[in-house]
């Protein structure tokens, strides 16, 4: 998988979208409405109760925006591709991928690179920027680098988890509902984790690393103490993404091997 091939794919994907540009922009508008709805409901909630576990509206907005922004980045490379894998395995279209001289995982995620997530990025990106200015933080170069790195890492965590779920379709044939479960569990990180007690924090730190997507980075940026990780390890947080992504990739390749019947 070369960069040249990736850019060629992106050019074709854009051209394809522009074939139905009316549709495309309608979908973007619809998603903007939908995600604005999500923000509004949290905003209404905080209008009433002022804070959740001591986190105020701009802080919650920051937390939620990092979650949504990294989801959009990660999902653009993985969600639809992984969700549709089940169907591709069933009707055999995946086979065509396996006779190409490319890495099947990289080709699949890039071939399906989804420009539609621009809506998520617009909504969450603007709220993110608003939240950062409203919070009146003191910015050092280190913090800016940290924020950028955690966003990349968060996107990689989301990709890694979605990839892992997608890979199960090689094994169980059906993976559809696991994606549904993913979104339900991901809802935990829309709120500050201390709300949910110790067990959930341990679960989302050590079992499914959702907490590394937004809770830990946001806590460190806002100088809030967390129960499980101290300030000294904050630079370990951005490592979680590459790790997760690699694990997901390995599992996916294991799944392909199983699909091919090469042991396992």
């Amino acid at each position: 998988m070369t960069l040249r091939l990736f850019w060629k794919l992106v050019r074709l994907l854009m051209k394809e979208r522009m074939e139905y540009r009316g549709d495309f922009f309608l979908a973007i508008a619809a998603q903007i409405i939908s995600y604005t709805g999500d923000y509004i409901i949290i905003w209404l909630f905080i209008q009433k109760f002022n804070h959740i576990a001591g986190w105020t509206w701009p802080e919650i907005a920051l937390l939620y925006s990092i979650s949504l922004f990294t989801y959009a980045l990660g999902a653009a490379f993985s969600f639809v591709q992984m969700r549709d894998l089940e169907g591709q395995v069933n009707n055999g279209t995946l086979d065509a991928l396996l006779v190409k001289p490319v890495n099947p995982y990289l080709y699949l995620i890039c071939r399906g690179f989804n420009l539609g997530y621009i809506a998520h990025l617009v909504v969450s990106g603007s709220v993110l920027i608003w939240a950062l200015t409203a919070l009146d933080l003191e910015w050092s170069a280190m913090q800016i680098i940290y924020l950028v790195l955690t966003i990349i890492s968060g996107a990689l965590i989301q990709t890694g988890i979605l990839t892992t779920i997608g890979a199960t379709s090689f094994i169980w044939v059906r993976s559809g509902f696991l994606f549904n479960l993913f979104f339900k569990i991901k809802d935990f990180i829309s709120y500050p984790l201390p709300v949910f007690g110790t067990f959930i924090q341990i679960l989302l730190t050590f079992v499914i690393p959702f907490a590394f997507i937004n809770y830990y980075p946001a806590s460190f940026l806002l100088s809030r103490d967390t129960m499980l990780l101290s300030d000294e390890v904050m630079w370990l947080v951005p490592l979680m993404g590459p790790l997760c992504c690699l694990a997901g990739y390995r599992f996916w390749m294991y799944g392909v091997n199983r699909y091919q019947g090469a042991g396992g």
């Binding site: 409405i33 995600y35 209404l44 959740i52 509902f177």
Partner: protein, 262 residues
């Protein structure tokens, strides 16, 4: 009538093939209820806010989460599928009413959800978080009526979206929009009584409140008997209005199909 029952049974049994997902569904519902329960406990604590306790809010969340599994507004992809594949032609030539066909298959899968997801989830949630009984027998009767309204309004909204998709050809975008409105105005997560004044009256004018807020509020008895009656009548009125709109639109849609050949 028998044919429609058959469609319902068919879609019930079709859902059977998803049965390995039952565990995951139960887990998913548990997670959603857990999240909301913890949030309500965190913000309300052991006291009350506006006369509502955390325990009441937990019951509110359980009802809303489980009702979401029963609502019928998600048929647009089915309609869109048969529109694009051309199967709609054969569906229209059958001596059946197309909307009733959709309704019965929707009810069939809701029936499946009721048996395999909602009831087990309800028992689990009852055990794990506690469930307040309905305010009174009368309120429970009102609750059942409200569920009937939720089903009918969700079906009509979904059907409306499907029909608009005959022209817009993008049911996906319309679904997202509907979803956005439902998120805000149905009160599924945040009950309307916690809304600021202006938002509350806006939500009161819209049909979305019947998909979540109304049944749960009636069950909990947070509304007076007259308020409840007014709301239920409003719900019937919304059903009637939507029914007229979809009826008109359906006629136009069929004409469009006939002229353009699908």
């Amino acid at each position: 009538m028998k044919a429609y029952i058959m469609f319902g049974v068919k879609s019930f049994t079709k859902q059977m093939s998803y049965r390995s997902e039952v565990w995951l569904r139960l887990l998913g519902n548990f997670a959603v209820i857990f999240i909301q329960a913890e949030i309500w406990k965190a913000v309300i604590g052991s006291g009350q806010v506006d006369g509502v306790s955390a325990q009441q809010m937990i019951t509110y969340s359980i009802i809303n989460t489980l009702m979401l599994a029963l609502l019928l507004h998600r048929m647009s992809s089915q309609v869109d599928g048969s529109l694009k594949s051309g199967a709609i032609a054969s569906e229209l030539t059958k001596p059946l009413s197309y909307p009733l066909f959709l309704l019965s298959s929707g009810l069939g899968s809701s029936g499946y959800q009721l048996v395999f997801t909602v009831i087990p989830s309800l028992l689990i949630a009852w055990f794990a978080f506690g469930l307040i009984p309905p305010a009174s027998g009368l309120h429970f009767a009102g609750f059942l009526a409200a569920i009937g309204l939720a089903l009918s309004i969700s079906f009509l909204l979904g059907y409306l979206i499907s029909l608009i998709a005959f022209w817009v050809m993008n049911h996906f975008a319309l679904d997202w929009m509907l979803g956005g409105f439902i998120t805000i105005f149905s009160g599924t997560f945040l009950p309307l009584w916690f809304f600021p004044e202006a938002w509350q009256s806006a939500a009161g004018w819209l049909p979305f409140q019947f998909l979540g807020y109304v049944p749960a509020a009636v069950y909990l008895g947070t509304l007076s008997v007259t308020e409840t009656m007014v709301l239920l009548v409003k719900g019937v009125a919304w059903s009637a209005i939507l029914l007229v709109i979809v009826h008109k639109l359906w006629k136009k849609a069929v004409r469009r199909l006939v002229i353009q050949g699908g």
